[in-house]
Symmetry: C2
Subunit: 244 residues, 2 copies
């Protein structure tokens, strides 16, 4: 996932990216960066990674991305950001396995799944994490809606009839949905995928994917990051494996 | 824009859509439906329209779209929703002028513009409209951020060097951005496009487009709808031209 120390306010700007080299600005535990990293791994696209401390952003980073978010990619003077936009760009211009479908109806169905998943499971995963530990009502409400997204995913997979959302191999939509599923499974104790067998099977099959394996953090590391991030710990980004 | 009376809770469900016919579920003043209607007009795609009263939704509509939003399209048993997803589907499967680009970098730049426009101008257009009339602080804050989106659009158009976002003719991104620009120009008195000449020229050029003309409501009608919608008037949807 790119294990370099996260640059923060005051960190000098890295040297300009070399010609022909793809640079990713990311954050080690960010599920949106995770999407792009899965796409890069699945297509075996060589790249370098600069990690950004999101609680203390270097000023120079805003010249790359005016909203200061990650991921951002940079290649030969072109700068692109947003997880879906960067991933679609990479899928379009780099060789390797094509991850998106050219079937318009299939593409529409996959995008609708992602919207529903986003509104139900992703939004409420964050609500669940940010609710005060003793606010049982808020936690329960978030959890109930989060589970609607999981049930919807189960229904989609059943109707779809294939192992993965995109077919017999994971595709763009699998790599867009999976990062939050990995975190929900690791961090939310009240979610037990065994109770939603279709999603459990899907999750288990994703664990066998080479790209997923190459970006996988342990559930315990996700939990540790979650605890520290919610507490506002500025050093949370550099836990786990760190390259010097 | 489809001027039939908006169906509400208790309205009977329309007869099933005929084979090969494209049906749009919409709302006459909705900027997201406007996006799709512009795409359909530009491609000259024949379709029928069922309007939905968004403040009193018929129960049967949730079987079409679980979130109850518009637009939704239905054709030969397939149901698709979300303004961008429906529009991209229509552009992909119907004949007529191709509205999206196959240039991956151009596509990425256009999508980033839409994200920025959405975060700055669209979100703050609604914040501006919903702020209490005497809450000058909230109105001013929304207005300032809304204008950042307009300035960004001006910079984009300048760098782009073409009349429209998509080139010498309006394309998908123009039709995605324009509906809120039409409403901002009509409804927000403190926005004077003449002060942002690049955007003013763009807006004026869009007025000449056949699709834009065919979906255009007067500024006064937009203002009347805005006033009534903010006041929660359930009959607001059926102002202006109504087909019987």
């Amino acid at each position: 996932m790119g294990n370099s120390v996260h640059l923060k306010e005051g960190s000098p700007e890295p040297a300009a990216v070399a010609k022909g080299v793809l640079r990713v600005y990311g954050m080690k535990f960010c599920p949106y960066v995770h999407r792009l990293k899965l796409v890069l791994a699945a297509k075996e696209v060589a790249h370098e990674t600069i990690n950004i401390n999101l609680k203390s952003k270097p000023k120079w980073y805003f010249a790359k991305n005016p909203q200061g978010k990650v991921p951002t990619i940079e290649i030969d003077g072109n700068v692109i950001y947003e997880s879906d936009i960067t991933s679609e760009y990479v899928d379009a211009v780099y060789p390797g396995r094509k991850l998106s479908t050219t079937d318009a109806l299939k593409a529409a169905n996959e995008k609708m799944l992602l919207v529903y998943w986003g509104n139900k499971s992703v939004t409420n995963f964050y609500k669940y994490c940010m609710a005060k530990p003793d606010d049982k009502e808020a936690k329960d409400a978030a959890l109930a809606t989060l589970k609607e997204g999981l049930e919807y995913l189960a229904t989609f997979l059943k109707k779809n009839g294939s192992v993965f959302i995109c077919g017999s191999q994971p595709g763009l939509t699998d790599y867009f949905l999976y990062p939050h599923l990995e975190r929900i499974n690791a961090i939310v104790p009240a979610v037990d995928l065994k109770q939603i067998p279709k999603v459990k099977t899907y999750f288990d099959q994703m664990q066998e994917d080479k790209a997923v394996k190459s970006c996988r953090f342990s559930d315990e590391l996700h939990r540790e990051f979650g605890r520290k991030a919610v507490a506002g710990d500025i050093g949370a980004y550099d836990i786990g494996p760190v390259a010097q």
